[in-house]
Symmetry: C2
Subunit: 188 residues, 2 copies
DNA sequence: ACCTGAACACCGTTCAAGT
DNA sequence: ACCTGAACACCGTTCAAGT
């Protein structure tokens, strides 16, 4: 008889860092960070948990770093035709949406020691302002303040921190925009 | 023979929620959030881990909520003699110091569903501005933006996200102040 | 090279029992 | 009322082994 490859291994996309991160993100988004487990992650990839270590030798640490990199690294794309204020407003809206869509990784974004992702993002903001004619120092300050604001706002929004008294609900979209304007109008 | 109380139980301060939270904070500050364990916490209180459940029936969830409440609930104290801008500047400096001193709980502050602590804080900021003559809506927006900025900034600072290029180090104090001014000068 | 299976040292939490 | 001890179901990770 001709040898048959095992059914399990057949036509199964081979494991890759990319696929692992995506599966992990799916678990975090769907069930929360607390349920992201090496064993559960293995299950969802139809593989034993230990197979993951072949692709991520540093284990769960590396997995979490990968999630941060995947979510938090989103530089502004500078279109020369638009005013820098509008470019930053567009970026801020996108970034907020991104963080809200993956709220489970927010605690990781906030404390993982993974400079690369956020540093690239903050650098892109600074560059947008520089090209728009903002002075070096002011651009550096505003870039940091802007990213800080967006991250902090998302943290408050995701927790629903904001009843004005007890009954009046918060219009998060409006509040986000208003706070953003507060910041941007100060920049020269 | 007269009965002797057991040596272990003698002259030992009885367990209390307060003492448990403080011990937990000591572990988080000294060793990091990842090393906060019910068993280790028990050890540091010279008690079996399971004794903690008598005071915190909801277990570790309740413990983490307690840490957030302890660290994140720090309203501004309004001194009528000072300008509201200076009151907020003082509060911001304190709050930043507080979060930096307990950086390990930052991920909890950012995502735990515990409105009370942050809501009280944001309400106090709004009140300071209201009494300073800022309009209702503007005060609500600015209060949220201010807390968002301070939390976000601390998150970036604690991670050291900010090399301007590769070599130039960031003066976090100066940057924090400058970003704060950016925000406050926009408020009327 | 890539994955598995068994094993180890640890978790959070329950439950019955002690005082 | 307050704490203990044993137990349970789960973790992350190692290591030798399979193909």
């Amino acid at each position: 008889m001709v040898r048959q490859p095992s059914i399990n291994a057949q036509h199964r996309a081979p494991l890759s860092t990319e696929r692992i991160i995506e599966a992990a993100l799916r678990i975090v988004d769907g069930q929360g960070l607390g349920r992201l487990t090496m064993r559960r992650l293995g299950d969802s990839l139809e593989v034993e948990a230990m197979a993951i270590y072949h692709h991520l030798p540093r284990g769960k640490e590396q997995l979490l770093d990968g999630l941060v990199a995947h979510v938090a690294s989103a530089p502004a794309d500078d279109a020369p035709s638009r005013r820098w204020q509008d470019v930053l407003r567009g970026w801020a809206a996108d970034y907020r949406g991104r963080l809200m869509a993956h709220a489970g990784v927010l605690p990781l974004v906030v404390t993982r020691r993974n400079p690369a992702a956020l540093t690239a993002t903050v650098a892109s903001l600074r560059e947008v302002m520089r090209r728009g004619g903002v002075a070096e120092d002011a651009a550096a300050v505003a870039a940091h303040a802007l990213l800080s604001y967006v991250i902090g706002h998302t943290a408050l929004e995701v927790r629903g921190t904001g009843e004005d008294g007890a009954d009046r609900a918060v219009d998060w979209d409006a509040r986000f925009q208003a706070g953003l304007d507060l910041l941007l109008t100060g920049v020269r």
